[in-house]
């Protein structure tokens, strides 16, 4: 039961908004779990969201959002 919960509970989403991106990628310095998906989205200039499914991921997502100077390229939802 607890395993099931751990895999299905969502702690929200991390979203990338291409319209706000200034291409500086400054937040990428702290990216690890989201590094690949973000890099791809940024390259393709494609806005999208990813599920946050662990406390560690939530911490990373929060840090990335705080490093985003545009306050709009990354967001927690």
């Amino acid at each position: 039961m607890s395993i099931l919960l751990a895999t299905t509970v969502s702690l929200g989403q991390l979203c990338y908004n291409a319209d706000h991106d200034i291409n500086s990628a400054e937040f990428m310095r702290a990216a690890s779990h989201y590094q690949q998906v973000l890099a791809k989205a940024m390259e393709q200039k494609k806005s999208q969201c990813w599920i946050i499914s662990s406390e560690k991921q939530r911490q990373e997502a929060t840090l990335l959002v705080s490093m985003d100077a545009t306050e709009g390229t990354l967001a927690l939802k």
């Binding site: 200034i22 291409n23 500086s24 400054e26 100077a69 306050e71």
Partner: protein, 387 residues
């Protein structure tokens, strides 16, 4: 045709080295002939490779700063300079008596304030990043949007700006008239202790014209041939590392920086849109349009000089860039390319001087080394050679 020959040598070695390494993709990072580059750039600058710029651009070479010239209407005078220095550092110029010019243009922070955007009266947040005032003596128009034509005109604007010093000129004149020290300073500067806004502006402008960047590693490198003996020439020549010279070469060529950052201050003193307008969004800043009301000026900002740029982080009119790698990633991507909406006259258009650059990480690091080489410690209080 010394230059052609050396380029050929570089090219030749490049081919050889690439063949040896045979890792095609990482070839560029191993192929720089630093010795040849140093040789080329140790020559007088008219023998350097031609800067790679758009054919519409008439870029003057990067080089040493000239001596400051003071305008006829406001010539240099030592006591006026002293009064200006005093005014610049005095909170009495603001309603709250708390905010001096130096609060936002702080020597220790490269004559800027180290913030994304400035705080002024009542800690209200302004919309723009405080630029350095180093080298304003060489400027043509002031503020990011060029709305002040002279430093004299500029000086009275922050005093009256409700978000900055939030004061009025009559109140300021009245306040300073009550201050004995100012009566003495004005008398020494102007021969009479009458205090007027115009005199305040002239003194502030005179002081600011003396804040000139110190000699940088780049300047020392350029001055090497003029040194009297071999040993000194070597020391001056080594002021710039191989990496920094490579960065200078990229700055002038592949990276296209000299389309806009040229001349002694590294600025064309013109206005360009790099794509940071944030049109119709939070943080929208229409830039020069706000002053000229010309639709083609939407989102254009003044090209800042780059001397001392490492001292004035964060960068750009909105302070959105906190590290230089990020800033160069931005240029490498061709800025922010926004498609103009032709149905909307005010929709901004990114400068077509910006193009994706295909710089690799080593090249970006080299460009940063060059920006370091043009960034000495912040200008001394009163550093200008007075002419």
């Amino acid at each position: 045709m010394m230059y052609k020959k050396t380029t050929f040598v570089i090219f030749n070695r490049l081919v050889k080295i690439c063949a040896v390494i045979a890792i095609f993709t990482s070839c560029a990072s191993y192929s720089v002939d630093f010795e040849a580059l140093r040789k080329i750039y140790s020559q007088a600058s008219h023998l350097w490779p031609k800067a790679e710029v758009d054919e519409s651009i008439n870029a003057t070479e990067i080089g040493l700063l000239p001596a400051v010239t003071f305008p006829k209407e406001n010539p240099y005078q030592a006591n006026k300079h002293k009064l200006g220095e005093h005014l610049f550092h005095d909170g009495k110029l603001s309603r709250s008596k708390q905010i001096a010019c130096a609060t936002c243009h702080d020597h220790d922070l490269g004559w800027a304030d180290g913030r994304k955007t400035s705080f002024g009266h009542n800690r209200q947040k302004g919309k723009r990043n405080a630029p350095t005032i180093e080298n304003v003596a060489f400027g043509k128009e002031f503020f990011w949007d060029g709305r002040a034509q002279t430093l004299e005109q500029q000086a009275l604007m922050p005093i009256q700006d409700p978000l900055e010093m939030n004061f009025t000129l009559p109140e300021l004149e009245a306040r300073l008239k009550q201050d004995r020290q100012y009566l003495t300073l004005f008398k020494a500067a102007y021969g009479s202790d009458e205090i007027t806004a115009k005199k305040i502006a002239m003194a502030l402008a005179t002081y600011q014209r003396t804040l000139v960047s110190r000699r940088s590693d780049f300047d020392r490198f350029l001055l090497a041939p003029e040194q009297k003996n071999n040993k000194m020439q070597k020391i001056y020549n080594s002021a710039m590392s191989d990496k920094a010279i490579w960065g200078m070469h990229l700055f002038r060529t592949k990276a296209g920086c000299m389309n806009c950052h040229y001349g002694a201050t590294f600025s064309d003193k013109k206005f360009h849109n790099l794509g940071l307008t944030y049109y119709k969004r939070k943080y929208q800043d229409l830039g020069r349009y706000q002053y000229t009301k010309q639709p083609e000026d939407v989102g254009k900002f003044k090209t800042p000089g780059l001397r001392g740029v490492l001292n004035t982080k964060p960068w750009m009119h909105n302070g959105f860039f906190g590290d230089l790698t990020g800033l160069l990633n931005f240029y490498n991507a061709g800025g922010v390319q926004i498609k103009k909406n032709n149905l909307d006259a005010l929709s901004p258009k990114t400068s077509n001087l910006l193009k994706p650059l295909s710089l690799n990480n080593e090249e970006i690091a080299a460009l940063i080394a060059f920006l370091q080489a043009i960034s000495p410690a912040p200008a001394h209080n009163s550093a200008a050679r007075i002419q």
